[in-house]
Symmetry: C2
């Protein structure tokens, strides 16, 4: 999910970089001293030694602690998944319950402490925890709460034969969810500066607890999907694969049969939201962790607002894709596994539809990149950890689906026999690769583009023009600044560059009016006025196209999140890869790569939402 | 392996950071223009569009290309490993041969081009490709060449029934190795500034080719180890595990039987060096890739020299550990799998020995960290991508062995029956976790410690002292600077801080002489002279202890690399985890995690070597 923690795109003020560095290298002691008088003799006591730990060490100490939490949890889940002797689901659930309780305690402590120390000046990272991100997480959390209540209901129904942990888990999870959402609403923007050691451990604990809850959700969901797939295979009469169903119904009867079946069916439709909720929460908490001890200078903030203007076409096209996708998924899920011929038709339909959507997305991405190439604007590559995380997550998560696509391509190349429908898989897999390749380029370039900097440079030019007046020939200094800004040496008139049209607040015409009201006589010949106007409208056109493309891609990515999240997985159903790689190996690859592929769609949608707001 | 590309530890000059940022955001065009006159009309042609690609995009384009190379290769190897239909080893080898040939072509082109454009000013990253690193890689490459010749000999012996790719592969690999070592010797320090697009793709291609060759080596080695383990299990009479041997001898007779058996045996003793060679090469190439387009300011360089003085005790203890480890490994490999009782004795011997070594390493690490806590020096946290990579690789690679340790701990907790020798596994696993936790903290703090900065600050103080003389009370300005340097507010005399004793070139007494020769009258009372002397010797003592600890840990890490690299793997042999998790799942976990665990030891040894040189 999108991680917010922008440092602002003002091109990394060098003074800030330095100051922040010095701060990070400082001592915990310093921070404690800021809160009150330092202890009279810090030497000798263990507490003093701990406080003297440099921040870098505190970071490594806590991140290694978090890794251990995660590794131990992963192994427990692995043991459960491979049916290791002596391991049951209750071991995993108990571990998760313990972690959640610890996090609840820590969050309660933190909230109280913040409340008690309200008088202290609290730095806030205004770019972290954007409002729309909080709204999204609240929505997902609400659905998660419904899921928890379903789970509790299911436990009550089967309480005779279910382990007690299966009842405690959803109850704890509900409390955990409520408190965590409150915590994120009120503290996601915090920049923690005092008693950092305990905060670091608390936040990293929360990050990895959420990651483990995500892993647990993914694992449960995968088991369920695999079972459904196996049931379909049994219906279709495949006897050559050793099939054993996992996670059977409980061994006793439900007290209220109707409710129980609604609960057990409903839970699996709610899981995708629960999974997204946890990954979003863990990225938001990670940004909070990264912000600990950071020194943020108060830059002027450009409030990002979302308007519907100017992206109607993209939005309409995107909404068509969205609704069609839902229809296709419903048809697919009804058709697949009914009979051999119905399955094949469902697969062909899915592939053809996906090929159409992906082709459009590729085209949109290429057009956007070409516009960027024509615009010749430099990128803001100042240090910005949250933006870096965004880009890394995009490429990393895309690797999951690329692995699956390469698997399909290799399988098609090497298979002995090719049923007709498998051929559609080839263009589909190739398009998946290309679409993500292009989309990543587009998103990463968009989030790195400078928007505000040019604004300042224009002001500099204006001031220079005013001060130079007509007595001096301003041409050389123009030229110099112009070259300095973008480093382009193509000899265009300095007025022709498109800087002022990219201002988020003031439109190009406002800037012109301002120019005139300042009584500034243009130095360049009158043709440049014309070229400014024409350039202006062309840039506005480009901006509109980019906005529409971003809106279209945003809705397409949201749409493409739905099929894999709700069990429409041709990688299971088409059977070709299973034949070539073998059932077990291929299922393992799919189960490992699929969560990242699903995460990619939600994360790219979030990044594209940001691109829409910024363009 | 250690990655060199230090920016120098002068605390991240803000101007440099800014400038480098601006450069990175620049256009390819700019760089081309620097080489000659720009093309008359760059607009319109595809080449011009390509040249206008911002560097950030070139980076993402090439890294995504590299990822695809890697993923496709991984899947081919996976298909081979799981015996997928239609895949054989020749498919994997052909793919690797193609990649190597492409890299050879690129390297040849690059070397020729550099030779032709010698007149151009070439930036060099003086911190990349340290001499000792090059020497290490040459040694490993030489052993790799021997392995290649063994493989060719083996192929000649069995040429009747082996695929021709098995002959072409080692021949290409030998050429590739020779050219790559030459390339790294002469170009590892290059900072590429022109025609960056092709260079980026070439270098990233080389990085992932080496990573794939590493993966291939690891896979072959794992298969071999697994076969040996299965053979042992058959000898011990375990019939309950479904055993099938992989990678049998070829189906025809060797023309010279004696030679063939020497070759096939010898190859597997040389594999560990080949594996290390490729991972080292890929990290060095990665630094070269990271350096493309970077703007490096020419800082004064502090030549790192290695001296044997002052670390005799640590070196002697380390050498004892080293020789004992070799003896233990030989005994272990002779004893294991002979009979049940001999196996158990070998395991107990191995565990007891490892527990002893790890305890000593933990103790050494804790002492070093305590010394650091007493020294109160701030850390240099300026931006330094290569150092960051070093730290990330340490923690990342350690995770592999932590996963194995957690597996063992969980298995011991959950197992039904506990043969006596399995109990030794518990302290061993816990110690492995703690030792790496502590060692990582020590290494990361050591490579982040500021050495040169304090030097400059002292000069400032001296200048201030001289200029202030006796007429003005210098106390407030001292105090200010002092607080400015370290941010410590514990009220010690400003003379008492230990800065001048950490200089790499000049010892503390030299600095004192200098002070006197400058005719500087000390302003502080005469007691501070005494405290300076005593502090001096105490700091020298501390430095000596740290040096000894680093030398000891360096040799210990080298020693602990040997057992897993040469097939002494109690994780296979003790049988407890296999019983609990099941044979297949546990073997999968071990085969995935072990390469990282082995890499950790070599990488930490390299980092510790750097720590020794810097301390």
């Amino acid at each position: 999910m999108a991680v917010e923690g922008r440092e602002g795109s003002l091109g990394g003020s060098p003074a800030r970089g330095k100051k922040s560095g010095a701060k990070k290298g400082g001592w915990e002691l310093e921070q404690v001293a800021a809160e009150g008088p330092p202890p009279p003799s810090p030497r000798g006591s263990r507490l003093a030694l701990l406080r003297k730990t440099p921040e870098k060490n505190a970071e490594i100490l806590s991140s290694q602690y978090g890794l251990h939490l995660f590794l131990a949890g992963l192994l427990l889940m692995f043991a459960w998944a491979v049916h290791a002797k002596g391991f049951s689901q209750s071991a995993v659930l108990s571990y998760l319950i313990t972690l959640m309780l610890l996090q609840i305690l820590w969050m309660a402590w933190y909230i109280c402490r913040r409340y008690a120390h309200k008088r202290l000046i609290q730095d806030k990272d205004t770019h972290a925890g954007a409002r729309w991100l909080k709204c999204a997480i609240t929505l997902f959390a609400a659905i998660t709460l419904i899921m928890d209540s379903f789970k509790i209901g299911y436990f009550v129904g089967y309480s005779d034969c279910l382990s007690v942990t299966e009842g405690i888990f959803p109850a704890t999870h509900a409390v955990h969810t409520l408190l965590q959402v409150y915590f994120l609403w009120s503290h996601a923007k915090d920049i923690i500066q005092s008693f950092k050691m305990l905060e670091r451990f608390g936040v990293i604990h929360s990050v990895f607890t959420n990651l483990l809850l995500w892993t647990n959700g993914v694992l449960t969901e995968s088991k369920h999907q695999l079972n459904e797939h196996k049931e379909r295979l049994i219906t279709l009469g495949f006897g050559n694969i050793t099939l054993e169903l996992d996670d059977h119904e409980p061994q006793c009867n439900c007290t209220t049969t109707v409710l129980c079946s609604i609960f057990s069916q409903g839970i699996y439709y709610l899981y995708p939201f629960n999974i997204e909720y946890h990954i979003m929460a863990s990225t938001m908490l990670y940004v909070l962790w990264k912000n600990i001890g950071r020194k943020v200078e108060h830059l002027q903030q450009h409030k990002i607002t979302f308007k519907f203007q100017g992206k109607t076409l993209g939005a309409i096209l995107g909404l068509i894709v969205f609704t069609t996708t839902i229809a296709i998924v419903v048809v697919y899920l009804f058709q697949i596994g009914r009979s051999k011929i119905k399955s094949e038709i469902a697969l062909i339909m899915f592939y053809l539809y996906s090929i159409a959507v992906l082709t459009m997305m590729c085209a949109a991405g290429i057009v956007a990149l070409l516009i960027y190439r024509l615009e010749e604007k430099s990128l803001d590559v100042s240090k910005n950890p949250a933006r870096k995380l965004d880009a890394d997550l995009l490429v990393g998560a895309a690797s999951g689906s690329w692995l699956l696509s390469w698997g399909s391509i290799l399988a098609i190349i090497c298979a002995d026999s090719h049923p007709a429908y498998t051929w559609y898989n080839l263009p589909f897999s190739i398009l998946v690769i290309f679409e993500k390749y292009i989309q990543n380029l587009f998103i990463i370039e968009s989030i790195h583009r400078e928007h505000e900097k040019v604004n300042d440079d224009i002001k500099t030019i204006r001031i220079l023009t005013v001060s130079n007046g007509n007595t001096l020939s301003p041409a050389p200094s123009y030229k110099e600044i112009y070259n300095g800004i973008d480093g382009i040496q193509n000899g265009e008139s300095p007025y022709m560059f498109n800087g002022n049209n990219i201002l988020p607040e003031s439109s190009g015409s406002d800037a012109l009016d301002e120019d005139k009201s300042q009584g500034n006589t243009p130095v360049t010949p009158s043709t440049s006025d014309f070229s400014l106007y024409s350039k202006n409208s062309s840039v506005n056109n480009k901006r509109n196209i980019l906005k529409n493309i971003a809106a279209f891609l945003f809705l397409c990515n949201l749409s493409l999140w739905i099929p894999p999240a709700f069990g429409c997985r041709p990688e299971y159903d088409n059977g070709l890869e299973e034949m070539v790689f073998g059932f077990e190996p291929w299922i393992t690859v799919v189960n490992l790569a699929m969560p990242f592929s699903i995460f990619y769609r939600m994360h790219s949608a979030a990044s594209l939402f940001e691109v829409i707001c910024k363009t």
